[in-house]
């Protein structure tokens, strides 16, 4: 899967000096989209995944089709205030300030084997918070899968060593 062939680099987004890797051309391309979902799901077909957790909002786009492909359920990890029911919250540091992710209290249970999906692995702060959140409900986080890894940001080192990491493509 040639992810980078379908990636658009947008300079100075979301702020000056940052080059944003835009995956919307990949989404718009039927074969690239289907192949991306197949490649994200493929390593986990024999892993007994019961839930795919997707991080709002781009992680929903990739995570939900992977859940369908694996015959698993989908659990959204959302920005604060979006989930209506009883929930758990996990904060994480941003470059300036903090943000948080939330999960419904019944979003995962002790018998669940969870695959975390997001579009891009950057600093790893969001993914680390997501893993902590799922674990707090007692579920096992088997692996984390990303379409694209931004190697220079070192996110890989932030993830727990017992969570398997799969990325479809990397840029420095």
């Amino acid at each position: 899967m040639q992810v980078l062939d379908h990636t658009r680099t947008v300079p100075d987004f979301p702020r000056p000096g940052v080059s944003f890797r835009d995956l919307t051309p990949l989404l718009a391309h039927p074969d690239a989209l289907r192949e991306t979902i197949d490649c994200l799901a493929a390593p986990f077909r024999s892993e007994g995944i019961t839930k795919v957790a997707g991080i709002e909002a781009r992680g929903f786009v990739f995570g939900a089709p992977v859940a369908v492909a694996l015959g698993a359920g989908f659990v959204p990890l959302r920005k604060p205030g979006k989930l209506p029911w009883s929930k758990e919250s996990e904060s994480y540091a941003l470059e300036y300030g903090t943000d948080a992710l939330e999960i419904h209290a019944d979003g995962a249970v002790r018998t669940d084997r969870v695959l975390l999906i997001d579009d891009v692995l950057a600093t790893g702060g969001t993914a680390r918070a997501a893993i902590a959140l799922v674990r707090r409900l007692g579920a096992v986080v088997v692996a984390a899968g990303f379409v694209l890894e931004l190697e220079a940001l070192g996110g890989r080192k932030k993830l727990p060593s017992d969570v398997r990491l799969e990325v479809l493509a990397s840029v420095r």
Copy 2:
């Protein structure tokens, strides 16, 4: 597909007096999720759909798997400021104030046949803006599909009469 069997009604969310229809139990249930995606896609298998447009954020969860199921591309309709590249914007009225949706300028082209997907049809304001946005790029909006319709809010009447409407379940 018994959508309502997998829907949780949460009182007083997002504000007092509103009963929120929470579809996360449906998402978490592997068979219900798969069947929901199948049912959303089924009416359009012979309609030559080239793009599925999903409305941020819950529309991403249903729209992306429907795109994969139909062999179409996926285009995200996002809240203001989230899309990095050249884009179009459409405002719509809320109960208090206004909001807007954005689409990348290359998110749809004149030859596209688009299926709009969102989780819930409520007042119809967001869906109407979404249809206007896709049409502004010259594409044909074939239909709009929703998991759940809240009939009492009358959203159905807000949608253009030449856009086919499909809903999997309705509540008054």
